[in-house]
């Protein structure tokens, strides 16, 4: 951004004071959109502190105690974290070679096709994508029928379990993983790799000692984005899991139906904190590797 403070260049007296302009520019959006969001977040916090029996009268941590003492909540939280972690690992492991391959594509037409193919699913409704995976992975769907015809094996259970959920989540988050990694790769000059190769390093050593460390920031940004997306996903795990794979976001939704609003508030906050905690950890890793590279 080349944003020079315009007001400092304009002759005084011709414009309103800076803070008045600021208030006029920001005010409407702040009061109509930003403030309601923060109001809602405050209400969420307040609700999680309601006392279960007192009908909203009085504050306390009893709902949090209930959450912590119920092993079911922990197992569901663990489901969310595990599914998000596995999806993140798979998505990054796929996105990295995909980005590397895109860097090497010479034909403009193929490159354009690659981009469209990789990013067009973003334009498809989340529900439609989940439906597409149900069609592909169900017992009489394309994948199992093809496997059966080729190898004569019985259908493998791929939907309404964690496998299906993870496949569909990876499909949703993969574009978000490719972009930061690709962005990072384009910024790394190829001379470093060439120098290392000239000095006699093997291809694997060059990757391990030069390419990977230089592209690690892109990988970490990708992991941050897609972990947050997969940990808080709702539509995909709910439809592909068919109620058999419970995640925290589904518990929040179910508890609304059962008028357990206080518990839903606690669970929503735990969901938020989990996403933020992983962001925080990965950001620390990012800084640490930055520092290590610069020293």
């Amino acid at each position: 951004m080349s944003g020079v403070a315009a007001s400092s260049l304009v002759a005084p007296g011709r414009t309103l004071p800076r803070w008045v302009r600021l208030a006029l520019l920001i005010g409407p959006g702040f009061f109509l959109i930003v403030l309601p969001f923060f109001g809602a977040m405050v209400m969420l916090g307040t609700y999680s502190l309601n006392l279960r029996d007192a009908n909203g009268m009085g504050m306390g941590l009893s709902l949090w105690m209930d959450f912590a003492s119920d092993g079911f909540n922990w197992s569901v939280l663990w489901n969310s974290v595990r599914i998000a972690a596995i999806s993140t690992l798979i998505a990054v492991a796929l996105a990295y070679p995909v980005a590397a391959a895109l860097m090497r594509v010479k034909s403009r037409a193929f490159l354009a096709f690659g981009y469209v193919a990789l990013f067009s699913p973003l334009l498809m409704s989340m529900v439609s994508r989940a439906y597409g995976w149900l069609l592909l992975l169900s017992d009489n769907g394309f994948v199992n029928q093809t496997l059966g015809m080729l190898f004569g094996i019985d259908p493998i259970r791929l939907v309404f379990n964690e496998t299906g959920v993870i496949i569909a989540i990876v499909h949703v988050v993969l574009p978000y993983a490719v972009l930061p990694i690709l962005n990072n790769m384009t910024q790394v000059p190829s001379v470093y790799r060439e120098a290392a190769l000239d000095l006699g390093a093997s291809g694997w050593t060059v990757f391990r000692r030069v390419t990977l460390p230089l592209t690690l920031p892109g990988v970490i940004v990708a992991a941050e984005i897609i972990f947050a997306l997969s940990a808080s996903a709702f539509v995909t795990p709910s439809l592909l899991g068919g109620g058999r794979v419970l995640t925290l976001s589904q518990l929040v939704y179910e508890n609304i139906g059962m008028i357990e609003w206080g518990m839903a508030a606690v669970q929503a906050i735990v969901l938020l904190v989990t996403a933020l905690a992983v962001l925080f950890v990965l950001e620390r890793v990012n800084r640490a590797t930055h520092a290590a590279r610069e020293s």
Binding site: L22, I26, F37, V98, M124, S128, S232, F234, A264
Partner: protein
């Protein structure tokens, strides 16, 4: 670049496999929308247009589509009208405290959509009962989700417009609003269009926040589809999805005609220039 052929072709193979993986759910949905089998059996049992007729006959889908269209247009307009001045302020005004405002503005990006949806549900129920299950409530929710994206895109674009242009207009006697409208806004057409289309598509596909704050008569189309798919695995949804894919591509194809200089690729940050 000295590099083994094996590595090159391995990478190319992974790329092609991933492209197939990314396209497969779209292809299967489109194919099955014409599949005569009630249970979407593979291979297809014959050709039919029956599922398309059922989509058009389904009152819930028709109402949902109309609701989504209204909500999408209204929230896109609201976010553009309120987001443009905010982006202008962030790009042009240097002032202490603005960094804090920026953090506040982008906070919805890190909050899970389910948490936003539930928080808004509680807010509406407790403080603003009429907003629960209303169009206004859904428009507000979608605006909260989209504002950070729209402001980010527009702030970057304001940064690319030289402030000199505006000052020249002012020196020639234009009022601040005139200078903005005549000198700055035309250069922003592309960014406004891209962020507008992005916002509309986001709104048109939103389930995870919306589902907490709607009532049946204001259900948006994706919420209606989600509830349908929870109950039935019926090829009607394949036909509807195909129609939506076509609709989205029509919306997207408007962009290259109006935006010059491939601003869309720049927005995607691919940076291969």
């Amino acid at each position: 670049m000295p590099e083994s052929r094996l590595k090159f072709w391995t990478l190319r193979a992974v790329l092609i496999l991933v492209i197939v993986f990314m396209l497969s759910p779209i292809l299967i949905v489109v194919i099955n929308s014409f599949n005569a089998s009630q249970f979407s059996a593979w291979p297809p049992e014959g050709f039919t247009l029956d599922w398309y007729r059922r989509v058009l006959d389904n009152p819930a889908f028709r109402r949902g589509a109309w609701n989504s269209l209204q909500v999408g247009v209204l929230s896109t307009l609201l976010v553009l009208i309120l987001g443009t001045p905010i982006a202008y302020a962030l790009a042009r005004i240097r002032m202490r405290g603005l960094a804090a405002f920026r953090a506040v503005l982008f906070a919805p990006l890190v909050v899970p959509r389910v948490a936003i949806g539930f928080a808004l549900f509680v807010l509406f129920i407790v403080l603003a009962r009429p907003l629960y299950g209303s169009f206004a409530g859904v428009v507000l929710a979608h605006s909260i989700l989209m504002l950070p994206f729209v402001v980010a895109i527009l702030t970057a674009s304001f940064g690319e417009v030289d402030p000199i242009v505006e000052e020249a207009a002012r020196d020639l006697g234009a009022s601040p609003l005139q200078a903005f409208r005549l000198a700055v806004l035309p250069q922003l057409k592309g960014a406004l269009l891209v962020s507008g289309i992005f916002a509309f598509i986001t709104s048109f596909d939103e389930v995870e926040t919306t589902i907490f704050i709607v009532r049946p008569d204001v259900n948006t189309l994706p919420v209606e589809m989600y509830l349908f798919l929870e109950q039935y695995q019926d090829p009607t949804l394949a036909a509807l999805s195909t129609l939506l894919i076509v609709f989205t591509f029509v919306v997207i194809l408007i962009v290259p005609f109006v935006v010059r200089g491939n601003a869309l690729m720049k927005m995607m940050g691919s940076g291969r220039h």
